[in-house]
């Protein structure tokens, strides 16, 4: 049965159609995937189901959710549509612990019974949701900032799984998840759908689409250019856009770059220990990054990858050990580092949206790097920034808007440019491809390679996407529980994983793609 029916949806803002004439239905128990290039209007379409629109935008067309007409003046009843935002960190209240909020949500769905019974039911419901969303129970006492990016995302998922919405809209729900968890989440989404919930999945991950979706909608520049059953659309794409997306998918079987011989170490980390409050989350890590190489950092969600990266960037003071940049030891604190040192190691944040100042145009912010760290003049810096952004497909017009008016993928690219403008010797990229469609992702990786060739910059790529790892990195380190458990040349490690964790990750990824991807011949 159709739960959501959208007809001729058009959203215009600033004389430009963000979405134009989209029509589709969501059926009870069906999983529909909405795919398309970054900035094609996916999030905007999804949010219009909730009766939300960009400020100043005009919405036309009709939306019906569970028989009720929805428009910005009449949003659907709270709880009808579950929504998992693309950037989950902002959805978590910074001053509330995880557990109480989950219980609060659960209480909405537990009626009947005595107080004791209710309490027990609430507890069960919370535990159930935690299990489904793969959130360990010990995180209940934590504040959101005490979670890793992937954990935050799963907590938000748990919020939605507690309730019983008619429709679940999930905007990139697996971007921050490792292969193992992703596999488990696929099962959960299936069971959600099996409960009769209509699922709208917004994603770039075509493997995920193949694994889950019954139906696929492809968007391009605000228009739905192709729709149909999953196998049909992805198996025999008709629209060039769709074809491009499929073609650009990285090859998981790639065997790493033809790596140059390792240069001198730019950064060497020795015996690094770091942690939060009393617990250590990074233990005795020793690793070197060589000039011009690409080092992939892979590990389960919550294994300490971001913490390690932040230590390098000077954002998280380590407890002991040493980080050397060239021959000089680096002070642990950013404010003790010279601008020169700051410029030489740059970090691209996992959550791009949160890393922008919401009050200033993105372009201005991006350009500041060139001004501050490379001594460029104001106009020169802007020119450079605009150029780099354009290379990645973000127009100057978009970039001149405030962060809130850019799509997730656009911001991710802007964040990369912001760091790259410092012309760093080491560029740490924390999940920078996660929010990007395959085409843009490929472009971005090409641009990075160019940068590497031009400047001899070393890349540290933190990612869950083993395909990216396989195709683009020279060496890989596998992190687990804050320790490096395996390291080596990418091709070798992926081909013959030594550590159980690596094995798990690789098998999960392979199983995932093998089961879904019809290998192009």
């Amino acid at each position: 049965m159709t739960v959501v029916s959208v007809r001729n949806l058009t959203v215009t803002a600033a004389d430009r159609a963000i979405v134009s004439g989209a029509s589709f239905d969501l059926a009870e128990g069906g999983i529909t995937a909405l795919v398309g290039e970054s900035g094609s209007g996916k999030t905007t379409t999804a949010l219009s189901l909730l009766g939300e629109k960009p400020p100043g935008a005009e919405v036309s067309g009709s939306i019906e959710v569970a028989g009720e007409t929805v428009d910005p003046a009449h949003p659907p009843a709270a709880g009808t549509i579950g929504y998992i935002p693309q950037h989950p960190s902002a959805a978590l209240n910074p001053v509330r612990r995880i557990g109480p909020v989950l219980r609060e949500i659960a209480r909405l769905h537990v009626r009947a019974g005595s107080r004791r019974e209710r309490r027990e039911l609430v507890r069960q419901r919370v535990l159930e949701a935690l299990r489904q969303a793969q959130v360990p129970e010990e995180l209940l006492h934590r504040y959101p900032h005490q979670l890793s990016g992937g954990q935050q995302q799963r907590v938000v998922l748990a919020h939605q799984l507690i309730g019983r919405p008619r429709v679940l809209v999930a905007d990139e729900p697996t971007t921050g998840q490792d292969a193992v968890i992703r596999g488990q989440l696929v099962e959960e989404f299936r069971s959600v759908a099996a409960r009769g919930i209509a699922v709208l999945l917004l994603t770039h991950d075509l493997d995920l689409v193949r694994a889950l979706a019954d139906h696929v909608l492809v968007m391009n520049r605000g228009e739905v250019v192709e729709t149909g059953p999953c196998e049909e659309v992805l198996g025999a794409p008709r629209h060039p856009c769709t074809r491009r997306l499929i073609d650009a998918q990285p090859d998981p079987a790639a065997t790493g770059r033809a790596a140059p011989e390792p240069g001198d170490p730019v950064v060497s980390v020795r015996g690094l220990v770091a942690g939060h409050r009393r617990v250590d989350t990074v233990h005795d890590v020793t690793v070197e990054v060589h000039r011009g190489e690409t080092l992939a950092v892979v590990g389960r969600s919550g294994s300490g990858k971001s913490t390690l990266a932040r230590c390098l960037a000077g954002l998280h003071p380590h407890r002991s050990g040493e980080i050397r940049l060239g021959d000089t030891p680096l002070p642990p604190l950013l404010r003790k580092r010279t601008p020169e040192q700051t410029a030489r190691i740059q970090y691209v944040f996992q959550d791009a949206r949160a890393s922008f100042n919401e009050f200033a145009p993105v372009l201005d912010q991006v350009a500041r790097t060139a001004e501050r760290l490379r001594g460029a003049g104001r106009t020169e810096a802007r020119r450079r920034a605009a150029g780099e952004l354009a290379r990645l497909g973000v127009t100057e017009a978009s970039a001149s808007r405030r962060p809130a008016e850019l799509s997730g993928g656009e911001l991710q690219r802007a964040a990369l440019v912001r760091a790259a403008l410092a012309r760093p010797e080491v560029l740490i990229c924390d999940e920078i491809t996660s929010g990007l469609d395959t085409t843009t992702q490929a472009d971005l990786l090409d641009v990075l390679e160019e940068l590497q060739d031009d400047t001899g910059c070393a890349l540290v790529v933190i990612t869950h996407d083993l395909a990216v790892v396989a195709g683009r990195s020279d060496r890989v380190v596998i992190v687990d529980g804050g320790r490096i458990v395996e390291r080596g040349r990418t091709a070798e490690v992926l081909a013959e994983p030594g550590h159980p964790v690596t094995k798990d990750l690789v098998t999960a990824a392979v199983r995932f793609t093998a089961g879904t991807r019809a290998r192009p011949d």
Partner: protein
Amino acid sequence: MRRYAVPATLVAVPLLLAVLGPLLASHDTTKDVAFLLGGGHWFGTDFVGRDVWNEVLLGGRSLVLTAVTATACSYALAVPLGLVAGMTGSRALDEAIMRPLDLLLAVPSMLMLLLLASIAPGVPWVLIGVVTLINLPDVVRISRAAALSLSSRPAVEAMRLQGESRIRIGVHYAARAMRRTLAADLGTRFTGAIYLVASASFLGVGVSPQTSDWAAMVDRNRVGLFIQPWAVVLPALLVVALSIGVNLAFDRWLRDHDPRSTFLEAR
């Protein structure tokens, strides 16, 4: 501009009176019976028989000027301090800023006023200094509290990685994120400063007793509230109008210049 009509009127009337008043006022010093209602005076006479309207004309300029300067001074000093204390990663720096200010808070402000009154009577700068000093720790604390939750945001970390100076982060990000809080506080603090100026002039700091002053008028004429209400009500109304107007204008302006939108952040 129509949306600003109400706040603009509320601010303009007292402000114009304050600025132009002294030009229109008569400097005739003869006195009538104190607290006369009518008797050839538009708004009666005050506690020593001076014409209330004339006093109102005379009494705005210095008051508004000192209150504005004092509030501006306290903000100019306090907000940067609060930002630094709230956003610094160094606990030592935070404490080094906050604990001495706590000392200032712990000294009864009346004692401070009294002392300054006796040390340097009649100097407007002293008055501005006192009012600034009294407000300083409060504003520092409020802005520190507001800044504290900003300090750990990735946006701030990203700016630091760009090599941005503390000042720039403060001005371009933190101050903007806090602007609503600061405006709310500034609005009420300005009003507070008006009365602080008055009570200080009552103690003899700053404004000399010969000078007319709205807030001091309210204070000195209060005994006559029931036989000659104008002497209190008129200046009080002007202060009220000024204060409500300033605050409403802030509110309006913040609403019109709101770069935020939930929709897009919650995506």
